[in-house]
């Protein structure tokens, strides 16, 4: 039995490695023509995968059987990414941004995906986390690690504040409140003098760990990695943590309750679910994720201004959740990664970026409202 398992594990890892190499090669291309060729190849692969049932069943069976091996292989490959992109810090930067947006999208997923609460104030909690930790770091020299907690908690309090008026409202009214809140935060950031107004906050100190400043190159196993790798590993941990939290929440009573509220709020209330409390919980958790992402962003870039937290950012995050698949944590992450990497690959069409985001949302909602990777049916073992 054992040799057979090892053989299957080897096949599995080979498949993973194949995709990983493809991904790395894709990241390294920068000519529009080649990028399109790669994309067509990926789409073809997807279609083939869908059509060729035997291969699909075998592969998914393999993944299910050897979950731990698959996960470990995946993690190991992702950890080597900075070594592969050693010569081009820009690629690592894209990965860091993809990670940040993945955290934001995971946070929003609790609301938009699980609970059916459309929140257009993601950018606000993102901004509050960023500004809180940046101000603390610049004026009071508070370390990044404490700032991470403070930023998250402050954003969470904001989520609570936003959640209270939202509980009185539903649907359109609720979106109006969140849009209004997002715009209020944006206007305030733009006009307060202590937030630097439109000029923002410059010179935010980078975090440091055990005396190693994140602004310095990282040397590992005799390799000199660009400083972005520090943040890459940090964001890797954070995304991993968020993923774990999101996954556990989804499979807990809380996730089930959220889904119940999504399906029918009145029915949920009749079953004794405290709808208000669970909705506010979703608001707070979402805002915490946003605040954490904001903190990392501000310390990573070293400069923030209100423009980084405009309404459009919220819409982009909503796009990620919808594209990836509502209430599917892995799908959401893939949505975030796709929508961060693809625009960077199509730099030539930079101007059309927002337009394309909008078109993606409209067409996805029309033709595949469940997203690329729809939520799977909950299965409970007997």
């Amino acid at each position: 039995m054992l040799p057979r398992t090892i053989g299957r594990a080897v096949i599995l890892l080979a498949v993973e490695a194949f995709f990983f190499i493809l991904f790395a090669a894709f990241m390294k291309t920068d000519e529009t023509g080649k990028v399109i060729a790669f994309l067509l190849f990926f789409i073809g692969l997807g279609v083939m995968f869908k059509k060729w049932e035997k291969a699909r069943l075998t592969l998914t069976g393999l993944f299910k059987e050897l979950k731990i091996v698959a996960g470990a292989g995946f993690v190991a490959m992702l950890l080597t990414l900075p070594f592969i992109f050693q010569a081009s810090p820009y690629l690592i930067h894209i990965c860091v941004m993809a990670g940040l947006f993945a955290i934001l999208a995971l946070g929003l997923n609790f609301q938009l995906g699980s609970t059916n609460v459309v929140n257009f104030a993601t950018a606000a909690s993102y901004g509050i986390g960023a500004y809180a930790s940046a101000l603390l770091a610049v004026h009071f020299h508070i370390s990044f690690w404490l700032g991470l907690l403070v930023g998250g908690s402050l954003a969470s309090i904001f989520g609570l504040l936003l959640g209270i008026p939202c509980m009185k409202t539903k649907d359109y009214y609720l979106s109006l409140v969140t849009i209004a809140f997002g715009l209020i935060v944006y206007i305030l950031l733009n006009n307060f003098s202590w937030t630097g107004g439109p000029n923002g906050i410059p010179n935010i100190p980078p975090p440091s760990l055990f005396g190693h400043s994140f602004k310095e190159p990282l040397s590992l196993f005799g390799y000199q990695l660009p400083f972005q790798s520090n943040y890459y590993y940090l964001i890797f941990l954070l995304v991993g943590g968020s993923l774990f939290v999101a996954h556990r929440l989804h499979h807990s009573r809380v996730g089930l309750t959220w889904n119940a509220i999504r399906e029918d709020e009145i029915a949920a209330r009749c079953h004794g679910i405290d709808v208000t409390w669970y909705k506010i919980l979703a608001f707070c958790i979402d805002a915490f994720f946003g605040g954490v992402a904001g903190t990392v962003y501000s310390h990573y870039i070293g400069f923030i201004s209100p423009e980084n937290f405009a309404f459009i950012v919220s819409v982009v995050v909503v796009t990620m959740v919808i594209l990836g698949g509502m209430d599917n944590v892995f799908g959401v992450i893939i949505g975030a990664i796709l929508l961060t990497i693809l625009p960077e690959k199509f730099r030539a069409f930079e101007d059309f970026r927002v337009l394309i985001y909008g078109l993606i949302v409209v067409t996805m909602l029309m033709f595949r409202p469940q997203g690329l990777f729809p939520q799977k049916m909950r299965i409970y073992k007997k």
């Binding site: 938009l112 059916n116 459309v118 257009f120 008026p165 009185k168 409202t169 649907d171 359109y172 009214y173 979106s175 109006l176 409140v177 849009i179 209004a180 809140f181 715009l183 209020i184 206007i187 305030l188 733009n190 006009n191 009145i266 309404f311 459009i312 819409v315 909503v318 796009t319 919808i322 101007d351 059309f352 927002v354 337009l355 985001y357 909008g358 078109l359 949302v361 409209v362 909602l365 029309m366 409202p369």
Partner: protein
């Protein structure tokens, strides 16, 4: 006293534009139970349409050929019709497919549609991110009255708004299509059973709403002399807020809501020291206050949830 009066005029003007936008929201909500979040962008599109048509007319030499009092109404009329058709087209393409889908979908789709409209406008103008100069189509004279400065164009704006709104009420009260619109907004299913063509009625509703919105956009452009591609976001949120404050679905509520928002903004800017940059914040706080304590708005009926 003169100061307060001056501010009242400003508030009235602002209220007029908000009302025109809010009427659209109310009509759509009445007809389809839908909030068209890109309506604000459609409104500003009216202003950009005028800009384009004005440029075309200039190229053809019509500006000097026709006298101003013929040319300007013609220009505005054409922009109105075009914007109305675009609004109807959006309904057909983006909103109709979601008629029987969950609310969330049409909500997100219209927000995204607004983004598409904004970006299309931005990309189709050279230096589209910068404010565009709006042609001075209204007379620029002004006169003093008891120490209050009154601009002639504000009088025209005020008159136009009142005229249009009364026309719309007449249309809804007196014509067959108006009756159909009222019937659909009361009960869509029953209206369909009585032989009313729902699709056509909804299309007419969107046409009227978009035309009125286009006027709002043109008035904003004419009054400020500049327009920006992203004015539609704020305009739409404000118009929707006005509709909510007045009572969503109630066309009369739009007038009250628009005036309240106009008053709050103007007076916050004028009488709160250092309040000018925060006018929008005050407006939104009022809206949130209303949503918490009177979610059905001033004139709206309380809605009971049916299971």
């Amino acid at each position: 006293m003169a100061e307060i009066f001056q501010q009242l005029i400003n508030a009235l003007l602002l209220g007029c534009t908000y009302t025109l936008i809010a009427i659209g929201f109310n009509l759509f909500f009445g007809a389809l139970n839908v909030v068209h979040f890109s309506h604000g962008d459609v409104c500003i599109l009216g202003a950009f349409m005028t800009l384009i048509l004005y440029g075309l007319a200039k190229l053809l030499g019509l500006v000097t050929f026709l006298p101003g009092y013929v040319f300007v109404p013609l220009l505005i009329l054409m922009a109105m019709v075009l914007t109305g058709l675009i609004g109807t087209f959006f309904e057909r393409v983006v909103i109709r497919p979601f008629r029987y889908a969950p609310l969330l979908m049409v909500l997100v789709a219209t927000v995204a549609l607004g983004m598409v409209v904004r970006e299309t406008v931005r990309l189709s103008f050279p230096h589209g991110s910068n404010p565009q100069i709006f042609p001075r189509i209204l007379p620029q004279t002004s006169f003093q009255w008891e120490g209050v400065l009154i601009r002639l164009d504000s009088l025209i704006i005020f008159g136009t708004t009142i005229f249009l709104i009364s026309m719309m009420f007449l249309f809804i009260k007196r014509t067959r299509i108006g009756a159909a619109i009222r019937a659909v907004s009361q009960d869509t299913e029953a209206a369909a059973m009585m032989g009313i063509n729902i699709d056509r009625t909804v299309a007419v509703t969107f046409l009227i709403g978009s035309v009125l919105g286009a006027i709002a956009g043109i008035l904003i452009g004419a009054y400020n002399n500049i327009i920006r591609f992203d004015m539609g976001l704020m305009g739409g949120v404000k118009g929707f807020s006005a509709a909510v404050v007045g009572g969503l679905g109630n066309v009369y509520g739009a007038i009250i809501g628009g005036l309240i928002l106009g008053l709050v903004e103007t007076f916050a800017a004028a009488f709160i020291p250092g309040g000018t940059p925060y006018t929008d914040v005050f407006a939104f706080l009022v809206v949130i206050f209303f949503l918490i304590f009177k979610p059905s708005g001033i004139l709206g009926e309380k809605v009971y949830e049916k299971v």
